[in-house]
Amino acid sequence: MTSVLLQPEHEFETQDIFVNMGPQHPSTHGVFRMVLAVDGEVVRDVLPYIGYLHRGAEKLCETMDYRQGIGFMDRTEYLAAFNAELSYVMAVEKLAGIEVPERAQWIRMILCELNRLSSHFMFLGAFGVDVGVLGTSFTYAFREREVIFDLFEEICGDRMMYSYFRVGGLAWEVTDNFVARVHQVLASARQGIEDLDGLLTANEIFQARTKGIGHISAADAIDWGMSGPSLRATGVSLDIRRDEPYLFYPEVKFDVITGTNGDVYDRYICRLQEMYQSIRIIEQCLQRLQPGPIVPERMSRLLRTPPGEVYLRTEAPRGEYGVYMVSNGGNRPWRCKVRSACLSNLQALRDMTVGHYVSDAVLVLGSIDIVLSEVDR
């Protein structure tokens, strides 16, 4: 007779436990949920769930005039709304064949790079918290982000949802002291980057926590469709600002920062270094900024586009932000698809996380710098 203890239902066995992280968790950066299968402290499998923030921006765009869609783009990517608006208005301009005045383009460039700075500040602050700094990095980063947002507020009256770019140019002229204010913001931003650099980068615990974690190879990253700093950290030099130039990026000097290992630390360093490059770009833009018109002289009151389609991609802080716009000849898009950088980056989460400790799963997620509103749209 076999022992009752040996019967399958009574047998002792080690068992993975499932940890449901999110939608309400301090480290999921929004309403993101992932289920971890945990073997002790080690992650065996990850299953991400998204869609909690799906608002149907694409469907809404189809029912609205081209100009009304700009507001939805702000809300898809709220940490870098200027970059999102840029893709949208440029797609419409390409379809309608509208030339944008030079001054408007320079101002667009300045604002987009400033927005990249503010977005990366947000990343640095939140990443510090993920690594376990009690919140010091967060307040350091938010101090600088506030300075940038104050400038945005002076220009467009809103701190996050700007709706400032228009098809053909800008909504209105920037404030008179714009150049002086941007210089002021850059000085404080540079100080802020140095502060955060000093707080985090050289710290032994920070390095021990981030180096070699969440590694992904260049080939895998490309296969998953990753983009932005997360891809460049693997050593792939791919930057839409340089490779498929838009605005006046060919006329300014900047380096494309690449990493070598494709781990969490490299992603962090890439973003940190990219901020210095953004400052460099903005300084050059300020030198080239000349007075002039900010909207084309002849703009029709009703904006119609000829039938056609365009896939317009720009380099947003998190990677390639694309707008695929199909026109049927009317005054509203027939189809407006937003290609989200975070969605593609997030697909690689499983590859990067499996085999690491639970604590590192949080780090890997933080290092992709996801914005859930962009993932879900």
């Binding site: 799906h54 791919l238 389609e309 317009l312 698809k337 290609r339």
Partner: protein
Amino acid sequence: MTSEGASTDLSSTIWPQVDKALSGISVEPEMGVLDLIVRIPRDEVIRGLRALKRDADLDFDYLRCLTAVDWEERGIDVVYHLYSTKKRHNLTVKTNLPNQDLTVDTATTVWRGANWLERETAEMFGVRFNGHPDPRTLLMPEDMDDTFPLRKDHPLQDIKILQGEGIAFPEEQD
């Protein structure tokens, strides 16, 4: 949407290489605003995409975007935006699915990154991707597999359909 006279315009683009790589597959080229667009019949589209990826001159190793466009009575177009990270050129591949049979093979066998994009396209348009490794919904609730919001015939304002019965506010129920 037409391709007459295209052969003269397209010689400066990557069309000659694409034509060579896709020999044996019926392809219709067309110049878009930014990128070259090719139309491939849906039975051959995955074979074509794989050929485009494997071709040494083209080397389309990066799937930028995958989505669909609803053309109402003309069926649904599935659109692939390809990019080569080494050669730095773009290509748009389109394939048309008739309304009676919205199925196409999955592109996840070519690029793993197509996974979530296909899941999103499937739930939004009702396109079935044969052989998809993970055919769950992505953004929509798990049980909402009979509503396709991005189709043109989907009502935008009549949200009662989405809420189901009995979920409306009490004063609206009668």
